[in-house]
């Protein structure tokens, strides 16, 4: 490859959601003329509908920008746009390993947020040079000095030379380009003659081309016709094409050390390509793979069931197809007395869950019932054997269980002072143990040890609501710990509803049970008879509500001319009931399965 390493800069952008990462990327692409003006669109690098709609990045993307710098040389800038969400923490860390520097974009009106923090630490761990960029300086509420100070205090990096920009208006973008060239390091010297060593940064499925991998070359050269081997998964493939994104796919003869690009090798499934894997040549392999590879492990589980039982086969096809393209998503068939046939699925986190569910509903047109998300509990039987419990419905009789451990997380919340009290209360309610509490310029940062179980469901929603959206939140898994956990069953009209069973802490069981029963009483429509709704641990009822019987449901007038119309109404009513799930004599609307678990207080 002709570009000398000294003229290459590989970088990523670290930012909190809405702080302007995608807009900055758009501006960099635009200002360097990488894309013709008429082809520009917003969030240039986010391809999926869901990414565009939610303003988030799920898959890593890369773009090569040619930049004629003020020093008279033209530089090749490779931007990797990484996912930012905690669910994709491992993917983020791999993307970070593939570049040498980062732009830290902070909204000058808001300051550093928890998510920024987690990602910037990943960048620091990857030995990045970091250029702080303060965005939205054109807004009246911008406080660049305060935010600069905050960056120095909280993150501990020098922010005196931060670029002040407005990605929206384009102010300051040329400075950012110069800073990339002058302040970020070139890739380390790789040896083009050594055996090929490349990192698989991410991969995605293209319906015409098959699987496309984003790769970073460490040593050696990759070109069309090479036979390559994935060192972890062991698969071997013939390279059909290599190239770079500008941001359209552009073929190049070869990719050399220090470069970032794509490779296409007729790989059928994304599942065969593992993020962080090392790619080498089949004939002349490198000696050791890159460090840090981790297979992805789902941490959040839930049941997905088709609303219409007739959609089950279609759903199976859809899930299989999705799984082929997402190695981090697991599934196995599940049968529920309440919901019929469906799947127990594992996800990296809640966002991942929502994304998969959205895609199933949207791309495959299948209406789904989602049961309450759960985590993996470690059950220790009295005989010493450990069982991983993915589904509360599978909980064995307590007489066989010695103790139960649950996953814990270290959660970081950043919030303006005035909401701190509510945040602490929320974390305490969720069985949190405070690890740290610090203040920086009107903002508090608190760190809690929390059970993941208390967070997977509605913690984030609650946090947003008690802080009016001003809090930011991030977490990492810290391991398993024993606690007094029990399975709480819900009985509707004396029948247990398996899909509503849940694991709870014994001390919180009464409170959760009461909340569940009250909520279900609102969610289940009145029937022709009264319906007891109970929460129970084993055989012991701990909360109870009664849904009174419906009293009036009759048409006042029905004469000869009404027969046809009223008959049609009856038929419609009957069809509407198909959207309900039948438990004994009781019909429960689908939304109850998820809404019942949301806690308002």
């Amino acid at each position: 490859m002709s570009t000398p390493l000294s003229r290459i800069r590989n970088f990523s952008i670290v930012a909190h959601i809405d702080h302007g990462k995608s807009t900055l990327a758009d501006r960099l692409i635009q200002l360097t003329g990488t894309v013709a003006e008429r082809d520009m669109k917003e969030q240039m690098l986010d391809a999926m509908d869901i990414e565009r709609e939610r303003g988030i990045t799920i898959k890593a993307n890369t773009v090569r920008i040619d930049y004629p710098a003020k020093d008279g040389h033209t530089y090749v800038l490779n931007l990797i746009d990484t996912p930012g969400h905690v669910d994709f923490g491992y993917e983020v860390s791999r993307s970070m390993q593939a570049v040498e520097g980062s732009l830290l974009v902070v909204d000058a009106t808001q300051g550093v947020e928890a998510q920024t923090l987690a990602n910037v630490y990943t960048a620091i761990e990857a030995d990045h040079e970091i250029v702080p960029v303060l965005n939205k300086v054109d807004l009246p509420a911008a406080e660049p000095d305060r935010v600069r100070e905050q960056i120095e205090d909280v993150i501990g990096i020098d922010a005196s030379e931060a670029c002040l920009i407005s990605a929206k208006t384009g102010v300051g973008i040329p400075d950012v380009l110069e800073a990339i060239v002058n302040r970020l390091p070139p890739p380390p010297e790789g040896d083009p003659d050594k055996p090929l060593k490349a990192m698989l940064v991410d991969s995605k499925y293209d319906q015409y081309l098959g699987v496309i991998c984003i790769v970073r070359i460490i040593d050696g050269t990759l070109k069309k016709g090479d036979r390559i081997r994935m060192m972890k998964t062991g698969g071997t493939y013939d390279v059909d094409d290599v190239g770079v994104y500008r941001p359209a796919m552009t073929h190049v003869k070869s990719l050399g050390a220090g470069e970032i690009g794509y490779l296409n090798a007729s790989i059928k499934q994304v599942r065969d390509t593992r993020v962080g894997d090392t790619i080498t040549h089949e004939k002349r392999p490198c000696e050791t793979p890159l460090p840090g590879f981790k297979p992805s492990v789902p941490v959040v589980f839930c049941g997905l069931f088709p609303v219409d039982a007739n959609d089950f086969e279609d759903m199976r096809d859809a899930i299989e197809k999705l799984a082929l393209n997402d190695a981090s998503f697991t599934y196995e068939m599940e049968t529920s007395a309440a919901l019929g046939f469906g799947f127990r699925c594992g996800f990296l986190g809640l966002l991942h869950l929502e994304v998969i569910r959205d895609r199933l509903e949207r791309e495959y047109d299948i209406e789904l019932i989602t049961t309450a998300p759960s985590v993996i509990y470690h059950l220790f039987r009295k005989d010493g054997e450990r069982v991983d419990l993915h589904n509360p419905a599978d909980m064995p009789d307590m007489t066989y269980v010695s103790h139960i451990e649950e996953p814990r997380i270290k959660a970081t919340v950043m919030v303006p002072d005035e909401y701190l009290g509510d945040v602490l209360k929320l974390c305490q309610e969720r069985r949190g143990i405070q690890l740290d509490l610090t203040y920086v310029g009107g903002r508090a940062m608190t760190v809690y040890d929390l059970p993941l179980n208390e967070v997977v469901f509605d913690f984030y929603d609650r946090l947003k609501s008690v802080t009016k959206g001003y809090a930011s939140f991030d977490y990492e898994m810290i391991g398993y710990r024993e606690d007094n956990l029990v399975k709480m069953s819900i009985l509707v009209n004396d029948e247990p509803v398996d899909a509503l069973a849940m694991m709870v802490h014994r001390d919180r069981a009464e409170m959760r049970g009461r909340a569940m029963c009250e909520k279900l009483k609102e969610l289940i429509p009145r029937h022709m008879f009264k319906i007891p709704i109970q929460a129970a641990i084993g055989g012991k009822v701990i909360a109870r509500e009664t849904l009174s019987a419906m009293r009036k449901d009759v048409t006042a007038k029905c004469y000869g001319g009404d027969a046809t119309r009223k008959k049609k109404l009856l038929e419609k009513q009957k069809a509407g009931k198909k959207k309900m799930r039948q438990f004994g004599k009781v019909e429960i609307p689908q939304e109850a399965f998820i809404s019942a678990l949301k806690m308002d207080s």
Binding site: M550, D553, A556, K557, G560, A563, K567, L570
Partner: protein, 387 residues
Amino acid sequence: MAENWQTGGFGLYVHWPFCEAKCPYCDFNSHVTRKVDHARWRRAFLSEIARVSAETGPRVLSSIFFGGGTPSLMPPDLVGDIVTAACAAWTPANDLEVTLEANPRSVEANRFEGFRDGGVNRISMGLQALNDHDLRQLGRLHSVAEAKAAFDVARSVFHRISFDLIYARQSQSEEDWRRELSEALEMAADHLSLYQLTIEPGTAFWERDRRGALPGLPDEDRAADMYEITQELCDAAGLPAYEVSNHAQPGSESRHNLIYWRYGDYVGIGPGAHGRLGSGDGRIATEAWRNPGAWLDAAEAGDGTRITNPVPRDEQATECLMMGLRLREGLLLQRLQALDPRVASARARAALQEDGLIWERDGQVGATDRGRLLLNSVVGALLPDQP
């Protein structure tokens, strides 16, 4: 059991689509027009009677009902001509009932004798409310005083009088209704239709309600309480409910409406009128053109019906059940199951009986008092799951 449709009786419904004003709660086929060509309408009605009677063959006619619209705006001689034609086309029963719906206004009251001379022997008056504020809210053109005067005229002309009231109105308390109904019962008609206000799609009230402009309507519990008050007062006054919303002195039930609820045969003529007619082993549903002008044209061209559909047996069962359970007397289980053996299965009946919603006696099945208030759900539970 093939002849079942005949056991429910045979009646003629005549629809007069014109009104002086459209009421905001009304979803009936009614139109406001200044000029009506009565001669044309007469020819159309008479030709329809001739056409349908040729199709039905000889039947014993037990009822004629003039509905609308406002049929009390019809010229009495037009009413008389239709009654005469119907009695010539079919064999009138000895106790033939001829009912006409009337607005309780002096204009119409002046025609009562003319209607009687034309053959009408029962009048059904739309009083709707016994206080002027609520009458205005319901969009009625009459006052309470005017209505009572018209009622007195009706009493002097007819033996059989029914009137309608609408309750569960905006801001109406249980006590308000108790007082109003007591007053109504003192007026001593032999039949009362007491309807809870229903906000029907396509009405002005529906639009208002949607905008939140109909405050004070009762919730389910209050509406149920008011229904129970209604039963209590009417029972005490000797006018028990024989149907969900209809009360009568025993023997004074509306023979015409019983045909509907017993799922008998009825011919419907006039704009938008529906009919059900048995033929051999089957049943057909008819529906006339709704628009008055379109119906008139079609009737003059030889046939006012827009739709003539056979009713499949399972739908007959649904209709028969839906109508029959409205009656306190219930319906014959065997008739229902002959139409569709899946309807009212032993299991579904047992569950409803356990909850005290239906009863069974001597092969009849019926709704209990509580079941009648939940009739839509009860009927739903008795229908098979797969249509």
